[in-house]
């Protein structure tokens, strides 16, 4: 049952001063926890690891996968489903969790928020799944949130999002807004000397909240100027008027948070209007285009733009090389892996680590064990779960290339602390 008080953020975690405090030397503590341990089911009797009637047997544990595989969001969410299935397969190949193989029940949210709520309830109430990997859009998460809180489910949510939320029943494996925005703005200000910014985005909660944070940071911390801020309805495809305005105002940076089909029109029209992004006049910096979106936009149309993410497919660390290889083996050579896909891949692994630390599948015990969980095997590198249920992650800037991949040109030296309720940015 929902505990009202536990929904409030842990204020002590996020004072303004240590907002971007970082975890010193964290990377040294990696891996060892996640080597295969060959835990035997016999050591963990079902009656002890499952006291709340979840779908756990002597040799299996069932979880849910809840994404849209039909409808407009299917193209975005498919990568997450694939990554989650890959992680589950790999965990099972290592012997599963507490000696139990993971089985999954997949449900289709059908890009429809009431359907997400219905399926979430079905997974929790009927199927008694021990955890759920799922959702993509904020709208779908908002729709299932009351269900997870009411029935005490446990959701791993992969998408970078606007923050302003911290549920005891959700682990956010993507970045909240400040993690994605601030380091990128610092970078463009320091290395490119950017002084003027033009903010634009699709008109819904994530771009608006993100631009609000960006504006505060630009004006209050960088001492630079926002020369324009505009929003367009989802699916909007006519950007010529804003492109003309941009040419008049001559900003140093176009900060673009355009999503979905609008992306294709925006970058094509930008190019057609003679703005050559490779010349960096102005610089285009986005937080909404991953490798997945470039497949739709076309690499040649976005070449030269910068994206600020925590993960790029082109990362050269060993974890990632292995991950990319396995992903392509399972799902085909022509697959690309974007930021959210990688975050989705972390879900089952983080859950496994938490369950093993708790020695139980009970949601309350897993929740209690989750803060502090580290994952040295993450493709993005080392990550750690914060008390506020978000991940400590690095922020990276990538330069888009014509082949649809990003060159990583910058990454933060340390992990960036997640701060879903950033003070001074409200």
């Amino acid at each position: 049952m929902t505990d009202e008080s536990s929904k409030k953020p842990n204020q002590s975690q996020s004072t303004g001063m240590n907002r971007r405090a970082v975890l010193a030397g964290g990377t040294a503590l990696t891996a060892s926890l996640f080597m295969p341990k060959n835990l035997m089911a016999a050591d963990y009797p079902t009656a002890e690891v499952n006291t709340t009637g979840l779908a756990v047997t002597d040799d299996t544990v069932t979880i849910g996968i809840l994404h849209s595989i039909t409808g407009t969001m299917a193209i975005s969410e498919t990568g997450s489903v694939q990554a989650e299935k890959l992680a589950i397969d790999q965990i099972n190949a290592q012997g599963g969790i507490l000696g139990r193989k993971i089985e999954y029940i997949q449900e289709d949210g059908a890009s429809d928020w009431p359907t997400f709520a219905e399926k979430a309830k079905k997974l929790l109430v009927n199927d008694k799944v021990a955890s759920v990997m799922g959702c993509w859009t904020s709208a779908s998460r908002k729709a299932v949130l009351p269900v997870f809180e009411q029935y005490n489910g446990f959701l791993y949510y992969p998408t970078f999002y606007e923050g302003l939320e911290q549920s005891p029943n959700v682990i956010y494996t993507g970045q909240e807004a400040t993690q994605q925005i601030i380091a990128g703005l610092d970078w463009v200000s320091e290395t490119k000397g950017a002084k003027t910014f033009y903010l634009l985005g699709s008109d819904y909660i994530w771009p608006r909240t993100s631009n609000k944070i960006a504006r505060k940071h630009i004006e209050n911390f960088l001492g630079a100027k926002v020369v324009g801020e505009e929003y367009y309805p989802l699916g909007h495809t006519q950007f010529n008027s804003v492109i003309n305005k941009i040419r008049l105002k001559k900003p140093d940076v176009i900060y673009a948070i355009v999503v979905g089909g609008s992306n294709v029109a925006f970058y094509k029209q930008l190019k057609a209007a003679g703005i050559d992004m490779t010349k960096e006049d102005p610089i285009v910096l986005t937080i909404s285009v991953t490798e997945d979106e470039i497949r739709g936009i076309g690499g040649e149309n976005i070449e030269g733009a910068y994206a600020c993410m925590k993960y790029f497919q082109s990362l050269t660390n060993e974890n990632n090389m292995e991950f990319v290889k396995s992903f392509k083996e399972m799902w085909g050579d022509d697959m690309v892996i974007g930021d959210v896909t990688q975050a989705a891949y972390l879900g089952p692994w983080l859950w496994k680590a938490a369950v093993e630390k708790a020695g139980s599948f009970d949601v309350d015990k897993v929740r209690a064990a989750t803060p502090g969980i580290e994952l040295g095997t993450a493709p993005e590198g080392y990550v750690k779960v914060h008390d506020n249920h978000h991940l400590w992650s690095k922020t990276r800037v990538g330069l888009a290339k014509a082949d649809g991949q990003y060159d990583v040109v910058y990454e933060t030296a340390e992990l960036v602390e997640p701060d879903p309720f950033p003070e001074g940015y409200q």
Binding site: E4, K121, R208
Partner: protein, 373 residues
Amino acid sequence: MKTNTLFPRADIIGFAVLAVVIFLLLPAVLDSFRLNLFGKYLTYAFVAVGLALCWGAGGILSLGQGVFFGLGGYCMAMFLKLEASTPENTAIQSTPGIPDFMDWNQLTALPWWWEPFYSLPFTILAVVMVPVVFAFVIGVAMFKRRVGGVYFAIITQAFAAILTILIIGQQGFTGGVNGITDLRTLWGWDIRTDEAKEILYYVNGVLLFAVLFAAQFVRKSKLGRLLIAMRDQEDRVRFSGYDVASFKIFIFCLGAAFAGIGGAMFTLQVGFMSPTLVGIVPSIEMVIFCAVGGRLSILGAVYGALVVNWAKTTFSESFPELWLLGLGGLFIAVVMLFPNGLAGIWSEQIAPRLTKLISKNTNPATGQGAPAE
């Protein structure tokens, strides 16, 4: 009007069977989760019944019933959201006491037109009246100018698109794409518990029957016969001295009122409202419920809503990757093989044989919605 003409024997049986299904059979065989799902399906039945009147009887095809469903639903959601947004619950916001999405959108005070929704009586009135007033405006604008048929259908569809865009665009006031979520209590009564869901299911069922009786009354009254006459030969009715437009406006408003009630019950049972229930796709889906059930029959419409949604849930649970194909196949099959839908199967195939079986002397129980010329 005598009672025996308001309720011919076949209709009494039909109503009784539906009552048994809704109030006895479904609660007996379904667990609380599935019952809540059927409760949700039944909220669509309100819309389908309205469509059976407008489209089946009156020949007015509206592809924008989601608008009225949504308006009713949003009215209820606004009330519930205000109740959930107490200053204590929203203490973490910049402005405590206003709904969370307003705070995210930098609003610092409740918009004036949200204020009345603190009152439950006002909300209940608004659930019915907002859709009705909106339908009245559309109706006057369209029917007085004799816009009908395909053009009317297209325009209603445009209204569905417009309202969706409006809701998404004005997210500070409406919750945008996310909709109005995290609704908790109705006058302090927690609507999220299993017990509450069960009670709401029965309330929903009772309201549906009230709507069905109203629809039956309209169908069997002089108005109902005029509607059918208008559908088949509008000009003749007009030349006979009837004000065709007023009848159409009335029936369109009635359908909107039904849809609004359905929307409010949806919000109560599902716990949120979002623009995905307002737009073109749900509006067309609602027409499909009505078509599958048999657009001439108000009871058929209820079964149509139940069967299609049940199929949707079952298919998508069993075949998450292929279910849309299965559902599409079902629609094609029904339209090709049984143009009068489930009600047609009943009245053309099953009922005559049953009657023949039972007694040769009674009149066959056909004639539901047969052209009255």
